[in-house]
């Protein structure tokens, strides 16, 4: 495959953007990324979003955003795979360049969740689960993740407080990220006292409803020197699926989509988990972080939470995760999250991650998960 590089990144702060519309958020991150790259023209815009049709009453975001940002006429499409939409769109952008169809492509993830009542947003998010077998039974995503977490605790004899370090690490890192939603550290006490959302899941296990947009500019590596941005190479791009419904898996504690997606990525890059310096994973709930670490080969089955307990996920430890706050504390604007992850790994590889910079980071990985693991997109980047 023709080699592709990331040459520009842009993002809005994640949070409550009452004064900005969906397309204005997209404009902000696209403009920042295009300026960062020093690009004037590009061939295609790939947009990722999940719930705008249901919440804002606006589909057809590709053409809408291309036009609003001043690029009327260029090719544009929307890619959706629930919360993995951002990763899927980045992959589509990479393949468009690898195919030779375009030399420079822009990928923008955008989500505006707060414009609607929270009940409606929770309902819209639940359309990522199996409507006939999960949602019709009244299960939303907190409930589905609670089933997995409860089973995990039972199977591996893990107490409630063992998950606290995931949330504490995410919040501690978010303090230093100006674009994070929750820039405050939390104590173990605060974690333990936080309200239950769907037992055993509490508020501090859960990523928030929020607004945000992130953008990357991609180009063929052979022309990357023409632009202003420092190129970061795409070493691997891979996607895999699993059943939507949790109960439909052979083993609800083995994330098969994670395993397949990570395996495919390692194979493409010729790397192993030991080579990864920083890993932006999909901690929509603490249990997902645990299972992602296990499925991606950083821990044995039933041992993922130990990495957090033993302090191995901090920026200067063995496998730094959520270095900019993760989904928990940077925030999880669902369709945009996968693009935020790539932006943040690029910051790490450029050495622009400030107080949570991973020392001498050379290779970074992102993993974006849709639903409770039905779509998984993994990227490995290197400088």
């Amino acid at each position: 495959m023709r080699e592709v590089s990331v040459i520009g990144i842009g993002q809005t702060p994640v949070g409550e953007h009452w004064e900005k519309s969906l397309k204005e958020l997209a404009y902000e991150s696209i403009t920042a990324a295009v300026q960062d790259a020093g690009v004037e023209q590009f061939g295609a815009l790939y947009v990722s979003n999940m719930i705008s049709g249901q919440v804002t009453g606006q589909m057809h975001l590709g053409a809408l955003i291309a036009d609003f940002c001043g690029y009327r006429g260029i090719e544009s499409h929307l890619i959706e795979s629930a919360c993995a939409s951002g990763g899927s769109a980045v992959r589509a952008g990479i393949l468009a360049i690898a195919s030779g169809a375009h030399d420079v492509v822009v990928v923008c993830g955008v989500e505006k969740m707060l414009d609607s009542l929270s009940d409606r947003v929770v309902g819209a998010l639940a359309t990522a689960a199996d409507a006939e077998y999960e949602v019709d039974q009244g299960a939303n995503f907190a409930a589905i993740n609670a089933l997995a977490m409860k089973r995990y605790q039972y199977e591996f004899k893990v107490p409630d407080d063992a998950f606290a370090p995931f949330s504490m690490n995410a919040h501690a890192n978010a303090v230093h990220n100006p674009n994070a939603m929750f820039r405050f550290a939390i104590s173990k006490e605060r974690y333990l006292k936080s309200a239950k959302v769907a037992p055993p899941i509490n508020v501090m296990d859960s990523s928030p409803i929020c607004d945000g947009s992130a953008t990357v500019v991609l180009c063929a590596s052979e022309i990357a020197h023409k632009f202003a941005g420092k190129p970061i190479k795409v070493l691997a791009t891979a996607a895999a699926t699993d059943s939507l419904a949790l109960h439909d898996r052979f083993d609800m504690l083995e994330m098969r989509g994670v395993r397949l997606s990570a395996q495919r990525a390692y194979e493409q890059a010729g790397l192993t988990p030991a080579d990864i310096d920083v890993f932006e994973l999909h901690d929509a709930f603490s249990i997902m972080a645990t299972l992602s670490l296990e499925g991606s080969g950083f821990a044995e089955r039933g041992q993922g939470y130990r990495l957090a307990l033993e302090g191995e996920i901090a920026p200067h430890a063995r496998i730094p995760i959520c270095t900019r706050g993760g989904l928990k504390a940077r925030g999880h604007p669902v369709g945009a999250t996968g693009v935020y992850q790539v932006v943040e790994v690029v910051q790490q590889l450029r050495g622009e991650a400030g107080a949570t910079q991973v020392t001498d980071a050379k290779i970074g990985m992102t993993q974006n998960i849709g639903g409770s693991g039905a779509t998984v997109v993994t990227h490995i980047l290197g400088k």
Copy 2:
């Protein structure tokens, strides 16, 4: 670019499928296409759909359909660009093969519109238009097309009955297509007497709300001989955008997205409109067929309707369109339509189009339009 061929096609009849769910419709067309191609495995499934999130309460269709059809684990994503989603997904599939990421890819368009109240469906379809500037004023797609048609009639002094031959041609051809929704011919009298939907647009100018699924199997041309299907080559794939809102264009009677998309396709294929033997265009409303013929270079500005009036759009005439019934009479299951168009052009190029076979068809074109022209995807195929 690595050359790509279509090696398998499948479709369900378009119509009212009360007894089948969205994923069952997709299963039917995917199974038919995979059998037609003689393919056992493939690398990725691209799904196109527009309104399932709003109407069925189910997003995340890529993984859902991959799993339901027995392909759990493979890569899958959904592509959306309103009514052009099918064309966008076919293009994504082609680029995935051209990039070298996969050798064989399946593209499935599926839409189930009838499960909901028609008001809700009309509202869901309107999310393809500009929510802030068109839909908030109460405009649905019939109203938006009526504005364009009225302006066209005023500008070029065209009477109401001049559009009748588009509908008559589509219905006459649908009689011979077992998968068409309306298999009956209509007279000019019936056209003129049909109820107005949004004057000057009447029922016979308008494509119907319906259910359906169509699938194509694509592979790298160099390995096409390994499979059972007769390969049809992709000679060009191109996409372009315009503003979502009709009033926001410099000229609402020039489809700039159509012109750009067609120009890019002709350039890639090294062809001109005179080389096209059959053209499956996007006749969501008669006025769209007119403007598509003009924007694609088959008629001068203000002259597209004359091709229909003069009998030049019939299967044995100068530029056959809607040879299997078109959106008007085959039906327009919105997110699936672009894939139906490719399936039908493949039927023509294989010589499998029965009574409406275009004699000695060698080169066929499809054009899938989202909204009132904001996304346009054009494909040229050849044998």
